[in-house]
């Protein structure tokens, strides 16, 4: 997927009155990694109206790919790197690598999105996550991962520690636009999964397309 789009270098659309009001916000949010959906109405509408222009704009000036993706009948926009390139953001401070915790939690939330496929909105409480860890299908794996041991019960302190990490992850996903955090600081964690959480699956698209190769690569690595 290379940047082969025709070079439209007409940026006069930026002189529109609406741009004066929203461009800075739009640009900052997209560059900070946010996934924009219809709940951010003004920015979403502008992106819809000037999608081609913005695509050329980010392609030409940032060497980044503005993606319009649809999942679960909802459109969302985000900036992505072209394959094999980091565009103008080669400085490591301009790239965010998802941490291991975020990767695990992200895939876990994506799994929960699917298991709530028929629900709307897809709300998750801390109790739901706790249930998955305590009594879900993968309880042993979760417990050894989050608590380092598989037991029938954990101390309140241990739970607080894990909850804190989930809170931080949900907060960072909220900033990325993957979830909508509903609860306040001192309330029980409550958030909605947004269709844009599907971006996690997009990130692993290559691995999923050639899943057998990916798995065999792992098996080889494990045997060595």
């Amino acid at each position: 997927m290379e940047n082969e789009d025709p070079k439209n270098e007409d940026y006069s659309f930026l002189e529109e009155d609406r741009m004066k009001m929203y461009f800075a916000d739009l640009n900052i949010k997209l560059l900070s990694g946010r996934h924009l959906q219809s709940d951010e109405y003004n920015l979403f509408t502008i992106l819809g109206d000037y999608y081609d222009e913005f695509k050329s704009f980010y392609n030409n000036l940032y060497k980044l790919n503005l993606v319009r993706d649809t999942y679960d009948n909802s459109v969302y926009y985000y900036l992505d790197f072209f394959e094999g390139s980091k565009g103008k953001l080669t400085d490591p401070s301009r790239i965010k690598t998802l941490t291991e915790w975020q990767t695990v939690a992200g895939l876990m939330l994506l799994d929960m999105y699917y298991s709530r496929y028929f629900e709307d909105p897809k709300q998750i409480k801390w109790q739901d996550i706790k249930y998955e860890i305590e009594a879900g299908d993968k309880k042993e794996t979760y417990q050894s991962l989050f608590f380092k041991s598989v037991r029938t019960g954990f101390t309140p302190n241990e739970w607080t520690e894990v909850e804190k990490k989930f809170r931080n992850t949900v907060q960072s996903f909220h900033e990325l636009g993957w979830v909508n955090k509903v609860s306040g600081q001192n309330e029980e964690l409550l958030f909605e999964l947004k269709p844009s959480i599907h971006r996690i699956a997009r990130l692993y698209e290559k691995e999923l397309l050639n899943f057998q190769d990916f798995v065999s690569h792992f098996k080889t690595a494990l045997e060595q």
Binding site: A24, S93, D111, F118, F147, F218
Partner: protein, 460 residues
């Protein structure tokens, strides 16, 4: 009020599945089916526990420990018969509640019929306030309200169960799932019928509430007719009519509130039915692709979990399981004037100390300016008087005179400008300018010869 004692007993009230939960249910079922008597022995309990363990492929639980946990709330010793037990009323009620919840009889019963059965008001059915109270008074309808609520709850449960089944399809094998989706379409057709039933029920309820309100208004009309009561008899009738109306209003308000809560729940159910139906259609369209994708995602997640471990509270992924990168440029404000920062700014009041020197200086400046203005006005007045008396005025000479007296050219200039303007605006005067330079005596300034001349007799 909840206290520590209640919290400490909480777990004893709801035993875990293999810690007595399944045992109580099995004992209840066996007693109900006459497989066991009302009194049963420790041996019977052991046999039931073995049966449960075999059924669920679990190890047999310790019967002594479980009996000890269940004693008091769920099991009681039969007096004078050692080793014999019976189920407590609480245990029986709990099992009945579970049974009722899982096999709710209203699941297959139309909601409209429940509404019609308990909340119908026929013409001339209510003659007195007692009739209304007996039929719809708070204590008389509480049972009916519970039935309606149970009915709605049953609908919600049915919906939730269907969701769970549909979600199972998503993770099932493709071939089976496709046929299962077809079966579920039938389930959702039933939901469509339920939606229709709900709509009918709402219409029936609206009808009932309208009639009830009309009947309440009739009680009001009775009281209203007697409002001019004078005789003692009429007054006592009025008092009774008012009390009747008050009671009728309370009943009306109580039922209106109840149906409002019913409306909220029904709306929620309708919304869920619509959403789920939409999803089902969508799912059928691209089921095979999505199911396959979902399966792969599950495998990926499984792989990720098995490659992750916790080291000192930090999760680590082994064998280079890829952690992905996303765009994350730090915020840079290229066009700050177009950006609404929405930052809360604090207002600070700074108390500036008094600068006496500056104050004096400014005061002197202001006074000087005022004085200069006064002098200018004085000279303008004087010059005009001179113009009237002499009929003509030589501006350079006048300016020379002012400069000599006031030692300030600006004053002379201002006077000259004012007078020129006066002459230009006034048709009785004209300004003659001869383009011949003439120097002022008291200042190094050259001017053309300028003279203001009176054209005819003027009175100021």
């Amino acid at each position: 009020m909840w206290n520590d004692e209640i919290y400490s007993d909480y777990e004893l009230l709801l035993p875990l599945r293999f810690d007595g939960g399944y045992l109580i249910i099995t004992l209840y079922t066996k007693i109900k089916n006459k497989e066991l008597g009302a009194y049963f022995s420790t041996e019977d309990i052991k046999l039931v526990l073995e049966e449960i363990a075999a059924y669920h492929n679990e190890g047999t639980s310790q019967s002594e420990r479980i009996i000890k946990n269940l004693l008091h709330y769920f099991l009681r010793n039969v007096p004078d018969e050692y080793g014999k037990f019976y189920l407590t009323d609480y245990a029986i009620q709990l099992a009945e509640l579970l049974e009722y919840k899982l096999n709710n009889p209203y699941k297959t019963y139309p909601l409209k019929e429940s509404f019609d059965k308990y909340f119908t008001l026929r013409q001339n059915e209510i003659k007195t306030i007692q009739d209304l109270e007996i039929k719809f008074g708070r204590e008389f309808v509480s049972g009916h309200k519970r039935i309606i609520n149970n009915h709605i709850e049953a609908l919600e449960d049915e919906l939730t169960a269907a969701y769970e089944q549909l979600n199972t399809i998503l993770s099932a094998d493709e071939e089976d799932a496709t046929s299962m989706v077809k079966k579920f379409t039938a389930v959702f057709k039933k939901f469509g019928e339920r939606a229709e039933d709900i709509t009918n029920a709402i219409s029936s309820k609206d009808n009932f509430l309208r009639r009830l309100r009309l009947r309440t208004d009739e009680f009001y009309a009775q009281a209203s007719d007697l409002k001019h009561a004078e005789s003692e008899e009429d007054k006592s009738k009025l008092s009774k009519a008012q009390s009747d109306w008050k009671t009728a209003t309370e009943i009306n308000n109580d039922l209106s509130y109840f149906f409002k809560t019913v409306d909220t729940k029904i709306n929620h159910i309708r919304k869920q039915i619509l959403k789920a139906s939409g999803k089902l259609t969508e799912l059928q369209e691209n089921f095979s692709r999505r199911s396959n994708f979902r399966l792969l995602l599950k495998k990926l997640f499984h792989l990720c979990l098995h490659n992750a471990s916790n080291r000192n509270g930090v999760i680590q992924l082994h064998t280079n399981f890829p952690c992905k990168q996303i765009v994350c440029e730090k915020q840079q404000l290229f066009y700050p004037e177009y950006y609404d920062f929405e930052l809360s700014t604090k207002n600070q009041l700074l108390s500036i100390p008094r600068d006496r020197e500056y104050e004096e200086e400014q005061r002197r400046e202001i006074e000087k300016e005022i004085k200069r203005q006064e002098i200018i006005n004085f000279w303008i007045d004087e010059s005009k008087k001179l113009l009237i008396s002499q009929g003509a005025l030589h501006l350079p000479a006048l300016m020379d005179k002012i400069v000599e007296k006031e030692k300030d050219l600006a004053i002379a200039q201002n006077v000259a400008i004012e007078l020129s303007q006066f002459a230009a605006e006034n048709p009785n005067y004209k300004l003659e300018i001869i383009q011949q330079l003439q120097s002022l005596e008291h200042d190094n300034l050259y001017l053309w010869k300028m003279k203001i001349q009176k054209t005819k007799t003027t009175v100021f």
